[in-house]
Point group: C2
Chain length 382, copies 2
C-alpha cells in the first residue's frame, strides 16, 4: 500500500496547537497546575457547518496522533488505524471529521516529560507532574474548545484509548453523543499494575536512566525501555497466537546449547524491544503506565463506579476480544451490566479472537462492521 493507490485519507500533516495557556492553565487531578501545553494532532475529513460531525479517536500507550494516511508519497507506513479511517471506511471521512490527538505525557509532539519546561528552560524529566487519564481528556477538551467543537459524535479508542472514551462520557456527559471503548476496563487490575511496575523497575534500574535526566547524556535508558516493551508485547498477545506465530522454532539448531541461541519468540521480542527506544521516550513510558495504573472510573465518586457510570448520557458500545487476558471481557461486562440495570444505553460486543489484547489493532475485518454501524447512527440529522 503506497499513497498513490491508497484509497484512504491520502497525504496528511500533523498539526500543533497550544492550549492551557496561562492564565488558563490546566488544573491537574493531582492538584498541580500545568500550562501552556502543546498538542500534536491530526484531522481527517471536513468539519460540517454545525461542527457536529467530529469523532475523537484516542490512541493507546505507545500510539500517537498519526492515526491514518501517509506523510509523503514515499511513505510506506500508514497511520496506526488507517484501516478504520477514510472515505467509505468505518470512520467515514466523507461524513465525519476525525481528530486524533497525541496524549498529554507522551513524547510524540504533545507536552510530556521530554518537553522543555517553559519556566526553567530545561527538560521536565521527573519534574513533570504525575498525570491521569482524566488530565489527558481535559487537554483534549481544551483543543476541541479551540476548534469550536462543543459536542463529539463519538469518542472511540482501544486499551488506554478506551479508558479515555469512558472518562470522556463520565466527565463531559453533555459533550459526547456516543462512545466506543474497546479492549479496556473501568479500573486497572493488580495484574496490569504489576506488569507496569516491572516495566518501570526495568527503566529506573537502567544506569542510563539517571533519575530521568538522560536527555543531555545522549544515552537514553534503552535496555530498560526495551525490557519494558518486551513485557508489553507478551501481554498484548495470547498463548494461542504466540504458539501459532512462533511455536518452538529456533534459529540454528546447533545454537540450542548456547546463550546466543534465540527462539523465534526471543528474536521477535528483542527486535521489537530494542526498536522501541528509537521512537519512544522512557520517561513518557513511566508517566503513561502510572496513568494507566491510577485509572479507576470510580475515583472521586462516593457512590463508586455506579455513580460514575450514572453520569453517562452517551450511547455506549463496548467491544472486547475473548483472548484478551490483560483487559478481560468480564470487566467490561460488569460495567455494561450496571448500565443496563440503570436503563442506560450500553451494548457489549465480545469478539472471538486468538489475538489477545492486540486484536483491536489486528482484527480489522471483525471490528470494522461493529464500528461502522454504530458510528453511522451517530450522524446528526439536522
Amino acid at each position: 500500500m503506497t499513497p498513490k493507490n491508497h484509497e484512504g485519507v491520502g497525504i496528511v500533516a500533523t498539526k500543533t496547537a497550544l492550549v492551557c495557556v496561562p492564565p488558563d492553565e490546566l488544573n491537574l487531578q493531582s492538584g498541580r497546575i500545568l500550562g501552556p501545553i502543546e498538542v500534536s494532532y491530526e484531522t481527517y475529513g471536513t468539519l460540517d457547518a454545525e461542527k457536529s460531525n467530529a469523532i475523537l479517536v484516542c490512541h493507546a500507550l505507545s500510539g500517537d496522533s498519526h492515526a491514518a494516511g501517509f506523510y509523503s508519497d514515499d511513505d510506506t507506513r500508514p497511520g496506526w488505524w488507517d484501516a478504520m479511517i477514510g472515505p467509505g471506511r468505518p470512520l467515514d471521512t466523507d461524513k465525519f471529521f476525525v481528530i486524533c490527538q497525541n496524549v498529554l505525557g507522551s513524547c510524540r509532539g504533545t507536552t510530556g516529560p521530554a518537553s522543555v519546561n517553559p519556566r526553567s528552560k530545561k527538560r521536565f524529566g521527573m519534574k513533570f507532574p504525575v498525570i491521569t487519564i482524566r488530565d489527558m481528556v481535559d487537554v483534549q477538551a481544551r483543543l476541541l474548545d479551540q476548534l469550536g467543537i462543543a459536542q463529539l459524535a463519538c469518542v472511540i479508542g482501544g486499551s488506554m484509548g478506551g479508558m479515555q472514551a469512558l472518562e470522556w462520557a463520565v466527565r463531559y456527559p453533555e459533550r459526547v453523543r456516543s462512545i466506543m471503548p474497546i479492549s479496556t476496563t473501568g479500573a486497572s487490575s493488580p495484574l496490569c499494575i504489576g506488569f507496569n511496575h516491572i516495566c518501570r523497575s526495568a527503566i529506573m534500574a537502567d544506569p542510563n536512566w539517571r533519575g530521568g535526566d538522560y536527555y543531555e547524556s545522549g544515552e537514553p535508558p534503552a535496555d530498560g525501555l526495551a525490557i519494558a516493551r518486551m513485557v508489553g508485547h507478551i501481554t498484548f498477545m495470547s498463548d494461542k497466537s504466540m504458539r501459532r506465530k512462533f511455536g518452538r522454532k529456533i534459529s540454528g539448531r546447533e545454537g540450542i546449547y548456547a546463550f546466543t541461541a534465540q527462539y523465534d519468540v526471543e528474536r521477535y521480542l528483542y527486535y521489537n524491544g530494542y526498536n522501541f527506544p528509537k521512537r519512544f521516550d522512557a520517561n513518557s513510558y513511566l508517566y503513561l503506565t502510572k496513568a494507566l495504573d491510577a485509572f479507576d472510573l470510580s475515583d472521586g465518586f462516593p457512590g463508586g463506579v455506579e455513580e460514575a457510570l450514572s453520569r453517562i448520557k452517551a450511547r455506549c458500545r463496548f467491544v472486547t476480544f475473548t483472548s484478551d487476558w490483560l483487559y478481560h471481557p468480564e470487566d467490561t461486562e460488569e460495567l455494561v451490566a450496571i448500565m443496563e440495570k440503570r436503563g442506560q444505553h450500553a451494548e457489549h460486543f465480545c469478539i472471538k479472537s486468538d489475538y489477545g489484547h492486540d486484536a483491536f489493532l489486528v482484527e480489522h475485518h471483525l471490528l470494522a462492521p461493529i464500528v461502522r454501524d454504530f458510528v453511522a447512527s451517530q450522524q446528526r440529522r439536522v
Copy 2:
C-alpha cells in the same frame, strides 16, 4: 509451627555427595562433559532392605533440596513441601524413603555456575555448560546409583520438577514405577520462553552482571535478578488471585500522584523481588530458565512426543490447576490423550483453583488426597 510440636520429619540435615567423578564424568546433552559434580540432597524416612521404597521429589526453578523439616529447634521455616512429606503425610515417611536433590545448575549446594571449576580453580560463571532437564535427571540417577537404589517407587514434582518426573519416565523407563508430574508441560511454550527471555535480558542488562563474572565484585546483579523474580511472581499467580490478594489497595492515598506511591501489588513484587538475590544466584537463574526453555520431551525422537511417551512404563498421574496460565491443563491433557490411546496408564486430575501456577505449593488440602492415594498404591508388595 516450630520443630518442637512439629509432627513432620523434625530436624533434618542437608547432605552432600560427589558424583560423576572422573573418569566417569557426565556426558551432557550438549555434548560437553562435566564432573565431578557435587550434589546437595536431603532424605526423610528409611530405605527398606530391598531398597524399593524410594520416592524422588523434584523441585522447581527456585527450590532446593530442603523439601521438609527444620534445620534446628529455632528454625521457624520448614522445607518447601513440608505439608506433603512426613509420618502419615501424603508422602508418608513411615513407609517411604523420600529423597530431594538440588538440581544441577542451581546454587543451593549442587554444582552450578557459582561453583568453583576444579580445573581452573575459578568460579564457572558463564563458562558453565548449558544444561538441560535431561542432564539434571542424569545427575539424580548417578546419586541414586551411589545409594544403591535401582528403582524408584515414584518421581514427583511440580513445574520444573514435573518436567524432571516426565524426563525420568522417558529416559529411565525401568527405574521408575510411577511418576506424578504436577503443573507442568511436555514442552515449553513460546509464552514461557518469552517471559524467561525477559528475565534473562534484565539480568544481563544489569551492569553488575559483568558477563557473569560478578562473584568477586561483591555486587551481584540484584536489580536484574529482582526484575526477573517479579516477572516470575506475576506468572505464578492468576488474575483472580491477585484481585483477591491485592485489589487496588495502595499505601497512602496522598501518594497516588507520586512515583513513590506503591499499590499493594507493587510492594509485594518489590519485597519478593529484592529478597530473592539474597538467596539465589543470577547466573543459576540464567541456566535454569535456559533449561526450561529447551525442555521438549520429543527432543531426539524422530517420532516426536508420541515416540518419547511410548517409552514410559511407569504409571502416570498428572495434576494440573484450572487457573495455571503458564502451564495450561490443556497441554497435560494432550500428553494424557496420547498415552491413553496407546493403552498406557495415564490419569489426569485437573483441580479447580484460583491460585494459578502457584497452586501446587498452596492448595495442599486439594493436592494431598490425590498424592496420598497414588503414592500409597506404589508400595511394593514383596
